[in-house]
Symmetry: C2
């Protein structure tokens, strides 16, 4: 049996810039110039020779060395919550897309849902240590603590949601608009009030939607009914549904996620109340399965991929000090009317 060193999986040292330079008959610096790709001052003929040598040797730039020498890593960090939730996944896809399109790599640090701020700071530190030039905060976090403050001053970061601090963050969707779209739709249908199944209060979005729901109701002179708590999951939606089923006067519900709407509707059906005949339901997200619920969900779509792309793009622009890195996509929520809403029974 052949013994081999555990670490070296290649037979010999990987080719370096110098090997390429030697083979192409140029200096290492010229190789560097060719590899960095910019239409720099290298004669086409020279570049061709270098590229040929690169090809022959299978040379690859050593990112760590380049990063050390240049001070730039072109790494984007992403802090995500370790769930398989649709929204996180879609957000990640968008971030990755925008990063790749601009020559950035993304490295992720997952934290548990409801992570302590220590866990969060730790994730941040891990990304900084990796050399991340910017960090997308895909998790709710207190930015005002001294510890966070020093960090965000040091390395630029963007949250993927909009806070009350920067109400106009153009890359995050307006949560209040979401609630308003949902409530107005229900009210316009003729319902006299709208109940609300909130998302996990750990997330900023939850409160923002709840507040906007209350506000929309009050504006029409309606006193908001008590909030029914939830946590995004279908299970919590189911529990909320059992509560609502006991309230005969409830004919319209605004649920803060599609997944909760699935559970909610199931509970309603089990209690003999049909949707939308007895109870109308509007939810949020428009996941792939929303159209295949029974009944198909009327929901406020969030363009998650675009949100991810927008966040990454904004961050890259900030890192590079440019005003724009191509157009930052629009991230407006949109009401998708399907079959889970109807006018109240006469």
């Amino acid at each position: 049996m052949i013994t081999m060193s555990p670490r070296r999986h290649s037979q010999e040292r990987a080719p370096s810039q110098i090997d390429v330079a030697r083979l192409a008959g140029v200096s290492a610096q010229t190789v560097s110039r060719v590899m960095s790709g910019q239409p720099q001052s290298v004669r086409p003929e020279t570049a061709r020779r270098v590229l040929a040598a690169v090809d022959e040797l299978g040379y690859r730039v050593h990112a760590a060395a380049a990063s050390l020498a240049s001070g730039r890593s072109r790494i984007l960090g992403v802090i995500i919550v370790s769930t398989d939730r649709y929204s996180s996944a879609a957000l990640g896809v968008g971030i990755e897309q925008a990063a790749a399109a601009n020559g950035y790599t993304v490295t992720t640090a997952a934290v548990p849902d409801h992570a302590s701020s220590e866990a969060f700071l730790d994730a941040f530190d891990r990304l900084e240590r990796q050399g991340a030039e910017g960090i997308v905060l895909g998790v709710p976090v207190e930015l005002d603590s001294p510890a966070m403050r020093t960090r965000t001053e040091r390395t630029p970061s963007t949250r993927s949601e909009r806070t009350s601090m920067d109400p106009d963050a153009p890359h995050a969707v307006d949560q209040r608009a979401i609630a308003r779209l949902a409530v107005d739709h229900l009210l316009d249908l003729g319902h006299t009030t709208v109940w609300h199944v909130a998302g996990d209060t750990f997330w900023l979005e939850s409160d923002q939607r709840r507040e906007a729901w209350e506000e929309a109701l009050r504006e029409r002179g309606i006193t908001p009914p008590p909030v029914i708590p939830g946590d995004w999951t279908p299970e919590s939606g189911y529990r909320a549904g059992r509560t609502i089923a006991e309230i005969p006067s409830a004919t319209a519900v605004f649920a803060s996620s599609d997944e909760m709407a699935f559970g909610l509707i199931r509970a309603l059906h089990e209690a003999g109340r049909s949707v939308p005949e007895d109870v109308s339901v509007v939810s949020v997200d428009d996941i792939a399965l929303a159209a295949y619920a029974s009944p198909a969900l009327t929901t406020v779509r969030q363009p998650f991929e675009a949100m991810g792309r927008a966040a990454a793009l904004r961050l890259i622009a900030r890192i590079e000090g440019k005003d724009a890195v191509g157009a930052v996509p629009d991230v407006h929520p949109e009401l998708v009317i399907r079959a889970s809403t109807a006018p109240p029974r006469a």
Copy 2:
């Protein structure tokens, strides 16, 4: 207005090992020893002084420099398909978990679904350039091409699925077992045959399940009906459902994903065929919403997180030349019986 350099977001250079060493009154090497954490030969008192200096200065190891000097990056690469599909997300969570637990960082490279092998090789190269010491292949890919071969020889990689080549890969779930679980359940219920809505044939799993489905049928002397194509999405399940609705003799269907089952059931209902009274449906995955379909889905659960953890763990073990990095979790599929299956009508 204050102007500031675009790149430097910190006021001055980040503290380095030497700064810490100076403050603690030790050599840089000692700082290195303390930072690398192993219970090396450093007096507790010295370590304490170093740590205090680290804290005061806010020092962080510069991963790129460490990587350059040591030749080890402790980076795990992951190639994922850029969809928000539940399975990819959950797999990613598992990988990230196992990586973090072993001191590895993960960096991702997304490729479009149905990516060309060029796109795939490109993703691989990007990860290698980042210094990934191992790569998890979360995407179906031809491993036998010369280009892939040189790459996988150079840097260890693991696919997240099981191939026919290594039927015993202990970290990937046995797709044939999945199909068998589904088919046997249906047949045992008394159905005379089982129709199959396949997943996207781009994915290895699809074919493996289809083959096992055929085999299970033949073993009981049943000639398999034609395969109905699908691509994992609820839309494709819906199309398949319309096809099946036209076949009065079809009373049992094995759909290769829960999402397709949602579409399938919807189509069946629209055609006036009820589930499970007229048609029984078994699917695969057991996503969070499976229990909230109408009817609740009988499905073969795949432990995605565990699969991800297992893949990462195996890879790390390979990188470090160890036999084990803690226990590699079990990844057996499991039939979850809910409400979408029943005996055929008398």
